[in-house]
Amino acid sequence: MNERIKPLLNWIFVLCIAGILLLFIQFPQLFGAVSPYVQKLGYMLSNPSMILLEFTTQSAISRFGGGVGMEGFSFALILGLTGAVIIFGVVPALIVFGYKKSETLNDKLRPFAWHLGMGLALIAIGIGFKASNSFFEFKSVVVASAERQHAMDRLQFELIDLYYDASATAFLPHERGGGNGHFTNFLAKDGSTRTIQLSDLDRYNPNGPFEIVISENISDSTITMTGVSDLEGNNPDFQNADGRTGRIQMTFTMNPYEDERLKRLNIKRENEWLYAEFE
């Protein structure tokens, strides 16, 4: 064999090994029924933390559903640790032994140990940096989405609390400061009747994180409340119930005189892209 082509061949072998591993990770479906195992093997040899992430995610989902967590000793841990031992221990040793053997053989075509070690090292370095970058970017998106969801949960809970407070207050007789059975039958100071107001509700906090508005279209038996968040919605020109524009808001309509109300919860999220098609 031409001596000048041997260094090139060395790197072709290395790239082939790295390419096969990349196929294991990026296109596991090519391997049909064994694709999950192939992908696991790919991660074990390039980024073992991914195997641990998969395991801890399954564990967290199990806890979410009321099952026990699966932390501690597990098969995933053994795969992950084996991967770490291969990447930090076996791979550098393969390269060193490859160099040493080629010194004794005095051949420019290096032994297979060197090709294997170098191929694994290249893919582990590449996948490691790529994963760091991807997860870093992904997390910022996921965190923002989760924070928005938790804020909307708080708003929904506040509307539920205020609805029950309003309904209970409407049931109270006038002498207890209620509406005598109606949302539109509260006593004004001059003795006339008026509709329910937020100031009638013990649980309303004017300094709370959301702006709450009771709809003017209130009837005897049905109340509509809107909570406006500080979160920016998908349409900056959307007219919010509190006079602002472009915020995500939630509207809750309920009739406490209806039967089986819980089955007819009417909560509508507005100006939020997830729910845009339902508006």
Partner: protein, 214 residues
């Protein structure tokens, strides 16, 4: 041969130590961190012995660059992925608590609102109280042991509801989650769980109150 056996033994010991750390700490990531730290120590030893003995300086340099990049890329990836896994766990736990809080708020207040409505529709009847209205509204969902067994079975699967009638004009429902976590991890719930979400809803002739206890 002797050298290869030595490497196999070192690798096995390395695995065992890391797995042992995970087993003892109950945390899968603790074992992985141990494996990475042990790996870096091993690489330093490898550098001082085998790599140092390579004849060509460019081979030494190439190998050292590869080792540094390997340690950096794997350490960054492990940290970012660990961080993501912690976030996922926290987020799922928070979501679970939110679901339990929502169910608790709706069910406790719904039945107390029905009680209040019934009470004010029956006030002209002698002997009507909040307690009697509550018993009427809830019917056989009230169990003798103080729990409420809703006809909607899935609600009871995740939350325990207990009622108390301290006076004829006051009824209390306590909702205690079985899964969703509360704020205080040491809090002892009425359903014998620890650290779970718990809230108390009260109805009197003056209205309904709802307060989170954990």
């Amino acid at each position: 041969m002797k050298q290869k056996t030595g490497y196999i033994l070192t690798g096995s010991l390395w695995l065992l130590v890391a797995a042992g750390v995970s087993y003892l700490s109950g945390n899968i990531w603790a074992g992985y961190l141990t494996a990475v730290i042990t790996g870096v120590l091993y690489l330093i030893i490898l550098d001082r012995t085998l790599i140092q003995s390579l004849e060509k300086p460019n081979q030494k340099l190439t190998l050292r660059i590869i080792i540094v990049l390997l340690v950096m890329s794997q350490s960054f990836a492990a940290y970012v992925i660990y961080d993501m896994s912690q976030f996922q766990q926290d987020n799922l736990a928070k979501t679970r608590s939110s679901i339990d809080e929502g169910v608790s708020k709706l069910y406790t207040q719904e039945f107390l609102l029905n009680t209040l409505e019934f009470y004010y529709n029956q006030t002209d009847q002698p002997g009507t109280s909040i307690a009697s209205s509550f018993r009427e509204v809830m019917g056989d969902q009230l169990q003798p042991d103080g729990t409420i067994l809703f006809t909607d079975q899935y609600v009871n699967r995740d939350i325990t509801f207990r009622y108390e009638i301290p006076t004829p004009d006051k009824v209390i429902i306590r909702a205690s989650a079985k899964i969703g976590k509360g704020e205080d991890t040491e809090f002892v719930n009425v359903n014998s769980e620890t650290g779970k979400y718990q809230a108390v809803a009260t109805v009197t002739p003056d209205g309904i109150e709802y307060e989170r206890e954990n």
